[in-house]
């Protein structure tokens, strides 16, 4: 095995892997970017059912209702001009209130947004990042995304 030959193998192997990685990334970008929409965007852009998206806006006043199972929460997110009905099963963050800003992540299903996570606006002083992410995960939302 000459040195040139070895290098050729390594370069070929590297290129093949790079190709595979690029293909993986591109295909994942194609399907798995979670776009942020306002309720108006959803009405205007005809977002298809079943795609993971984020919806942000205000929790509309008098729209929050618990279903009879005591667990599922129904409410509407509004951006002023349009509203989207949201259904969410689980605990909402402590800062979730009517009239407050929220961002919900989930999928549309026949006009209703089935949320998998609901993040509420949070107001905190700057903290070290190792800790900020912790807060964020706990539902006290603060991040780069659209923010109330």
């Amino acid at each position: 095995m000459t040195r040139k030959r070895k290098r050729l193998y390594i370069v070929l192997g590297g290129l093949a892997l790079l190709g595979v990685a690029t293909a993986l990334v591109l295909s994942a970008f194609q399907d798995n970017l979670v776009f942020f929409y306002s309720p108006s965007d959803i009405t205007a852009k005809n977002v298809p059912d079943g795609r993971s998206i984020r919806v942000g806006g205000l929790v509309e006043k008098n729209s929050v209702k618990r279903e009879s199972d005591g667990v599922t929460l129904d409410f509407r997110i509004s951006d002023g001009s349009q509203t989207v009905p949201v259904s969410y099963r689980g605990d909402v963050p402590d800062l979730f209130r009517e009239g407050q800003g929220v961002v919900a992540e989930g999928k549309l299903n026949k006009g209703t947004f089935i949320a998998s996570t609901v993040l509420a606006k949070h107001d905190e002083n700057y903290m070290p990042p190792e800790v900020v992410d912790a807060l964020k995960r706990s539902g006290h939302w603060q991040e780069t995304g659209p923010k109330p």
Binding site: L58, K61, D79, G80, P148
Partner: protein, 178 residues
């Protein structure tokens, strides 16, 4: 050729660094909200005022360039920005109006008595309906409405001196001259 390969890491880093630099741009607001209302007609509203005040309606604003500030007595950042609003209120070229968002009239009254009242008129949006029509995310928020009654700017969060100098005043000037 082989040297070029060794230059690749540093070249990639330069690209990433330039992009970090752009991301640091202080004018880039990571909380920027795509507003659905920009350049749209201002939603119609007619709100009662404080006892003895005249209230605020869209009709009354028509034909002039105005600033509309959503505030509330319970909102801390609103207190922070109040000094700046007071300054704006003293400027005779600025038409500053206030909408008290989900606030008890007596609280609003006390708030303004303590800190001063910069507004030409105040509307009470106790239900929050007008705020929802405007697309308010949280108080304070400030809107610029042009002579044709279209929303031209939305500022989320408290105003700072820099916002006023760099963003608000130039826009107000150009709208007034148009």
């Amino acid at each position: 050729m082989r040297r070029l390969l060794y230059l690749l890491p540093v070249a990639l880093f330069v690209a990433v660094a330039v992009y970090f630099l752009l991301a640091l741009d202080p004018n880039r607001d990571p909380s920027r909200l795509p507003s659905a209302m920009i350049d749209k007609p201002t939603p119609v509203f007619a709100l009662d005022g404080l006892a003895g005040g005249k209230g605020l309606s869209l009709d009354a604003l028509k034909g002039q360039v105005v600033l509309v500030n959503f505030f509330a007595s319970w909102c801390e950042p609103c207190r922070d920005e109040h000094a700046i609003l007071m300054k704006l209120g003293k400027d005779s070229s600025v038409q500053l109006y206030g909408i008290a968002y989900k606030d008890k009239p007596e609280d609003t009254q006390r708030f303004l008595q303590q800190l001063g009242d910069p507004f030409r008129a105040i509307g009470l949006d106790q239900t929050g309906r007008t705020a929802i029509d405007f697309g308010v995310y949280g108080v304070p928020e400030t809107y610029v409405i042009d002579k044709q009654g279209r929303i031209r700017l939305r500022h989320v969060g408290p105003l700072t001196e820099a916002d006023v100098a760099k963003e608000l005043m130039p826009l107000l000037k150009s709208l007034q001259n148009s």
